[in-house]
Amino acid sequence: MQKKIGKLPFKGTEEQKNRLDAVIAENKHDKSRLMAVMQQAQDIYGYLPVEVQEMIAEGMDVPMEKVYGVATFYAQFSLSPKGDTDISVCLGTACYVKGSGDIFDKLSEILGIGAEECTPDGKFSLTACRCIGACGLAPVLTVNGEVYGRLTANDVPAVLAQHGFEK
């Protein structure tokens, strides 16, 4: 699947731009640090919209297509914003054999969004991720980085409710 490009308008602030400029200034002498700059840019903005990629391309003095090519190659980079609550389901082997696929389907069904998508109100986003290494707790998902383990699909509504989901 091609990487999803978010359609919500860019809401970058001056403060974010200053932070990115500082990151670029620190790294621009070494073009091989492009990915590191992109990773930090994503930390700052939450995703890499066209406006941010253009700043990076200009700042690092590389073609924008190169930035975009890198952004769409690596799973970690996102072109669409994450929701306030980002749910990431591990589909690594250990979790998969213990039913994480069902958990993902359930989330998708309830939230009405697919992988790499954000609900229209910007509140929830859903990601399918690779092994996060918590295989002992399989199947797991993370909500804004916090791990929930040993789940079943039936636990999904409760997890969502815990994070303020209302049907």
Binding site: S32, V70, Y74, F77, V97
Partner: protein, 636 residues
């Protein structure tokens, strides 16, 4: 730290903080410990996920409350390996092993165990408490006793954030020995003689790799550590990074000395924040201590290193793709030759090894090639770390001598298959590997035996599958992974694996033909022979190996339109045994699609009419089956 003497002095001093901890043979037991007790809390990713950090805070709080600060030292270590039992903590000198510890238990442990001296047996891992109430240490459990820890020797033993604890356990002694006693060629000879082979995939002899790089003249050479552990379910590299980061630094510096490189890069998955943080901390500490940087130990040898973060691309585990990625590009592999030994990172001669490979180096230097070569099999020396996962009781990390049988790994160490299910097969090597069927359970696991049965060691992921696993579905799962992770550069992998997946999909839907199976096999062989890099060349392995050992399952999907394991939804049908059904209606109530309805039939001995499933409406979710307490619902 400018001299070896200073290093030795630092070791003598630091020894007092670690001497209580067992699990090590060489420590000088005459040294008196600074503390009465050492409490080691696992700070690996698994246990951190279950908030082991809060346990440390709580412990310190309680220890303070009981005035034990001078008696009890609390350390957060790397992974112990028994992730399924997390969060874990061990108390020395007894070696008491508390598993699945909860915050609320802490006060009690501190009071009863630390103050009163009576371990809280009911909170200990049950296997460590004998029927007579006597306590075994962790090393005596089934999970640990067959393990031999070389790569993981410091994991779960030392504080990875404290360079002195590493130094206490002979840290940086190997580097000192290399720089002061060995020529670069001597180092390469020791590594070569040890028989160490690359732990990340194909098992290329490490010494030979170094020897091929060393003679290439270039103004700059590099040592690269592949810590882009991508096999789903494998996490031994992460454990080393989290539990023993200095070991990697020391090993890379040794490699730098051996091949004439002054710069190293560690390429780590960004999904490993704890590992990155600890490695970063360790690099800074080593730099401050003078163990990295210019003129190490006053020998004139310079070495420094930098961390580069991956961003989620499995293919970057392939050595040329990894280098392309370090250079800031899409991580697409490059054709070989030229090999990295000649033209690697930034076009310079480069040695690339993975974390586990490097983690063996300091011990090989200190204990000698013969010691290492005495473990393992004829062509696979030393130990190997496996990540046990899937349908096995003890999921986690184990390090065992090469040549241990699969049976020992699964049953003795792993505790067998849970819920009384039958062991069916084990998958090794992740998406590049294959499966070992139950009938080959006595295979001695080493590089060559695995290859001979169409498997691959890979990085050491070992996924156990039971009777409920459909091998066609499993092959499909791995192929979905490679299709997803294919970089898209070469035709066979980009298009070929996709077509292969589509054929598998057809089969799992019951739409395949016997000819499809043959065509699939041909396509597998084509992809193996024609792909640009290791990812593509090994992508068909899960299909080929399941075809080899479980062809009958494929045939069942195609001819009988049945999934023998009852996994492939399109081939499943759920039925209610009308004579077993008591008519409670729980299945119908819970059916998400209202596919279950009441019949007119009342079974003899029952009062209510039984239910039946409308197969046209049924979505095969299995909710009815899990809700039926009378085993009246069956699938097939």
């Amino acid at each position: 730290m400018k001299t070896v003497a200073e290093l030795n002095a630092a070791r003598a001093k630091a020894l007092k903080t670690v001497v209580l901890r067992k699990a090590e043979e060489v420590l000088d037991k005459t040294v008196k410990s600074d503390y009465k007790r050492n409490v080691l809390v696992c700070g690996g990713t698994g246990c951190t996920s279950s908030h082991s950090d809060r346990l440390v805070d709580k412990l310190n709080e309680e220890i303070k409350a009981n005035g034990l600060e001078k008696d009890v030292q609390v350390i957060m270590t790397g992974c112990f390996g028994l992730c399924a039992l997390g969060p874990i903590m061990i108390v020395y000198p007894e070696g008491c092993f508390y598993s699945m510890v909860e915050e609320k238990n802490i006060a009690r442990i501190v009071k009863e165990h630390f103050v009163e001296g009576n371990p809280v047996t009911e909170l200990l891992y049950d296997e460590t408490v004998a029927d007579d109430g006597s306590i075994k240490s962790l090393d005596e459990t089934d999970f640990y006793k067959k393990q031999v820890r070389v790569s993981l020797r410091n994991c779960g033993v030392i504080d990875p954030m404290n360079i002195n604890e590493y130094i206490a356990r002979d840290g940086y002694q190997a580097l000192a020995k290399c720089l002061t006693e060995y020529t670069p060629d001597d180092v390469i000879k020791v590594v070569t003689d040890s028989g160490l082979r690359g732990r990340g995939g194909g098992g290329f002899p490490t010494g030979r790799k170094w020897a091929l790089t060393a003679p290439n003249k270039a103004p700059q050479k590099y040592v690269v550590c592949n810590a882009d552990e991508g096999d789903p379910g494998a996490f031994m590299d992460r454990s080393v990074l989290e539990g023993d980061p200095h070991c990697l630094i020391e090993a890379m510096a040794i490699a730098g000395y051996a091949i004439g490189a002054s710069m190293g890069y560690v390429y780590v998955r960004a999904e490993y924040p704890i590992a990155v943080n600890r490695l970063d901390n360790a690099i800074k500490a080593a730099r401050e201590t003078g163990l990295l940087g210019k003129n190490i130990f006053g020998t004139g040898f310079d070495f420094d290193m930098e961390i580069r973060l991956g961003a989620g691309a499995f293919v970057c585990g392939e050595e040329t793709a990894l280098m392309t990625s370090i250079e800031g590009n899409r991580g697409e592999p490059r054709p070989r030759p030229p090999y990295p030994a000649v033209k690697g990172l930034y076009g310079c001669p480069t040695v690339e090894n993975n974390v586990e490979t490097f983690s063996n180096i300091p011990q090989i230097i200190l204990k000698g090639a013969e010691w290492f070569a005495s473990m393992g099999t004829e062509k696979s020396k030393g130990t190997k770390v496996f990540a046990l996962g899937g349908k096995i009781k003890h999921t986690g990390l184990v390090e065992i001598p090469m040549g241990t049988t699969l049976r020992d790994i699964i049953y003795e160490i792993g505790g067998g298959v849970p819920n009384g299910k039958q062991f069916k097969a084990a998958q090794t090597g992740g998406p590049s590997g294959g499966c070992i069927p139950a009938r080959l359970i006595d295979t001695e696991v080493d590089y060559d035996n695995l290859v001979s049965i169409g498997c691959m060691m890979g990085s050491g992921g070992l996924i156990v599958m039971d009777e409920d696993t459909c091998m066609v579905d499993m092959a499909k799962f791995f192929l979905e992974f490679t299709v997803d992770e294919s970089c898209g550069k070469c035709t066979p992998c980009r298009v070929g694996t996709k077509r292969l997946l589509e054929m598998l999909d057809k089969i799992t839907k019951g739409e395949g033909t016997l000819e499809d199976i043959d065509r699939m096999e041909e396509l597998c062989n084509y992809i193996k022979a024609n792909s640009l890099c290791g990812l593509g060349q090994t992508a068909p392995n899960p299909v080929l190996s399941t075809l080899k050992f479980f062809r009958d399952e494929y045939v069942a999907h195609v001819v009988d339109k049945k999934c023998p394991a009852g996994v492939c939804k399109d081939l499943l049908s759920f039925t209610i045994d009308k004579d077993k059904c008591i008519g409670c209606g729980k299945c119908a109530k819970n059916c998400p699609v209202e596919a279950i309805s009441k019949t007119d039939y009342v079974a003899p001995g029952h009062k209510l009419p039984s239910y039946e499933i409308d197969t046209a409406k049924c979505v095969k979710c299995g909710v009815c089956m899990s809700n039926c307490k009378f085993n009246a619902v069956s699938k097939g």
